[in-house]
């Protein structure tokens, strides 16, 4: 079978002098420029504006508490067992309340080890650990990423701040 090579049609005079094509190209870049100047473009100006992340986004953890401020965690160590990154450390102690019996004496998540898989949230029998969508928790030292109980119970507040920012920007 013969292969037929299609030669492109020879350029016309106007194509050969480039100028109309150049003007067309200039028109196109000008259109884009005006569009960007008028509509602000597609860029999210990050520190000032925030991208709206989906609600099932997985970032910094939070440990919810009961209304009286008592932590929900019963130190069953399911989360630290399931954690694929070994990011969770739990030490248990006895609670004065006989109905609770056990509570965490020491609970710490190393957010630098964490891979944000969400397994801890899934496995927890008491709904005592959640992943929030707050991704803005950088610090400049490693210790700053070790989140103990004291901080983890308060990270929920950061989420409402984030949502306020998202709503402000949109």
């Amino acid at each position: 079978m013969a292969i037929i090579v299609k030669k492109p049609a020879p350029l016309t005079f106007w194509e050969r002098i480039y100028l109309p094509a150049i003007l067309k190209g200039l028109g196109m870049t000008m259109r884009h420029m005006i569009k960007t100047l008028a509509g602000g473009g597609v860029t999210i100006r990050y520190p000032e504006q925030h991208k709206r992340v989906p609600n099932n986004y997985r970032a910094l953890h939070v440990m919810p508490t009961w209304e009286d401020g008592h932590i929900k965690c019963v130190a069953c160590e399911m989360c630290s067992t399931v954690c694929p990154a070994n990011a969770i450390t739990v030490h248990a102690e006895e609670d004065e309340n006989p109905e609770i019996e056990k509570r965490a004496a020491f609970y710490e998540i190393d957010e630098l080890r964490c891979i944000f898989c969400g397994f801890c949230e899934e496995v927890c029998p008491r709904d005592a650990i959640h992943l929030t969508k707050n991704y803005e928790f950088v610090t400049d030292n490693r210790e700053g990423f070790l989140y103990g109980m004291d901080r983890l119970t308060k990270t929920g507040r950061l989420v409402s701040e984030l949502e306020a920012k998202e709503n402000k920007d949109r």
Partner: protein
């Protein structure tokens, strides 16, 4: 020293200081404009962190360049290596000496400058005007060639070879395309050319200004294209080429020495915009608007504004074209220069000449 000479020298020094200050500020903000406009054309935002509208960005860039370590590689020819950035920069700055920005104003009646009669908005009103620009800007290629040679680096040398071949080829077109303008206005002096463009084309029924772009459209186009090549801007930025020759002739340069090359390139573009404005767009004059009746200060302000607007448009055109067109291949560049632009420039010259022969023998206009 007699007072007229003293006044001339002092005035010249003041003008040099002012022009260089404006030029460098212009270059700084031109680089910012380039980054901003290129961003807009690519649906981006561009620098927006340094001050309102990133107006402090050039300052930050300059400080960064100053603070960089000044490296001199051990394999270079030290003297030439250090001289090359200056050799690129000096012609770029020197060409602006003959560019006029506005009509002269009468000198103050008393005081030091009274003896001068008038104050020109031009550093040197020499009667070879345009020739001087060609002569000096032709020297710019030495900075590039010597930079490439002294770097003792094959990529730098290849880059500088490409640059010199390109500049020499397009300089011909540049010179020939503008000869038509000299024929029309019968002078080389830039301020005289600008003055000649205030009149209207004599034999047409409607008043069309006798601008270079009207009487020499082909010459204008050729001059513009050749200017793009001379300033090595896209689509003719062959001297630089990340893909094939690393960065080109300045690959071995860093910190302030690199900055001088950038400054030279951007000053070239600004001066080229100013020269095109003078030659083809009527300089600081607007057609059908007579500014000569205004008081001196207002007139100068208006004329400077008009001149800046016109030159600014061409400066923007450099950016606009750069972010629109892909570059030529090297053989295409040479073919375009020698086989298309040069014959067209000669044809334009012959046609203009023929027109004037007819005009003077038949006597139209």
């Amino acid at each position: 020293m007699d007072s007229a000479v003293l006044a001339t020298v002092i005035l010249a020094l003041i003008k040099i200081a002012l022009i260089l200050a404006v030029l460098f500020t212009g270059v700084a903000y031109y680089s910012l404009a380039e980054r901003k406009f290129s961003a807009f054309m690519q649906d981006r935002i561009g620098p927006n962190r340094c001050g309102p509208f990133a107006l402090l960005q050039p300052l930050a860039d300059g400080v960064k360049f100053f603070l960089k370590e000044d490296v001199i590689p051990h394999h270079v020819d030290k003297v030439l290596y250090l001289a090359a950035p200056a050799m690129a920069m000096i012609p770029a700055m020197a060409t602006i000496a003959v560019v006029p920005f506005a009509d002269p104003i009468p000198a103050p009646a008393s005081g030091l400058f009274a003896s001068l009669g008038q104050i020109q908005f031009q550093l040197a009103d020499i009667n070879v005007g345009m020739l001087y620009i060609f002569a000096v800007s032709g020297l710019a290629v030495y900075g590039v060639v010597i930079a490439g040679w002294a770097s003792n680096n094959k990529y730098a040398l290849l880059g500088s070879l490409r640059a010199s071949a390109q500049m020499i080829s397009y300089e011909l077109t540049l010179g020939l395309s503008v000869l038509g303008v000299f024929m029309v206005y019968e002078t080389l002096q830039l301020d005289a050319i600008v003055a000649a463009q205030t009149s209207f084309i004599s034999f047409l029924p409607v008043a069309i200004p006798k601008w270079g772009i009207v009487v020499q459209p082909l010459g204008f186009l050729l001059f513009l294209i050749a200017t793009f090549a001379e300033t090595s801007r896209l689509p003719f930025d062959l001297p630089e080429g990340e893909a094939e020759i690393v960065a080109g002739y300045h690959v071995e340069y860093g910190s302030m020495k690199f900055m001088l090359f950038m400054l030279a390139e951007y000053s070239h573009m600004i001066i080229a915009s100013a020269v095109i404005t003078c030659l083809f767009l009527g300089g600081w004059n607007l057609p059908w608007v007579d500014m000569s009746s205004l008081p001196a200060v207002q007139r100068v302000a208006a004329q400077l504004a008009v001149f800046t607007a016109k030159a600014g448009f061409f400066a923007f055109l450099f950016i606009w074209v750069r972010w629109t067109l892909p570059r030529f291949r090297y053989d295409q560049l040479m073919r375009l220069g020698w086989k298309v632009l040069l014959p067209l420039a000669i044809a334009n010259l012959v046609a203009t000449g023929a027109f004037y022969v007819v005009k003077y023998t038949v006597g139209i206009g």
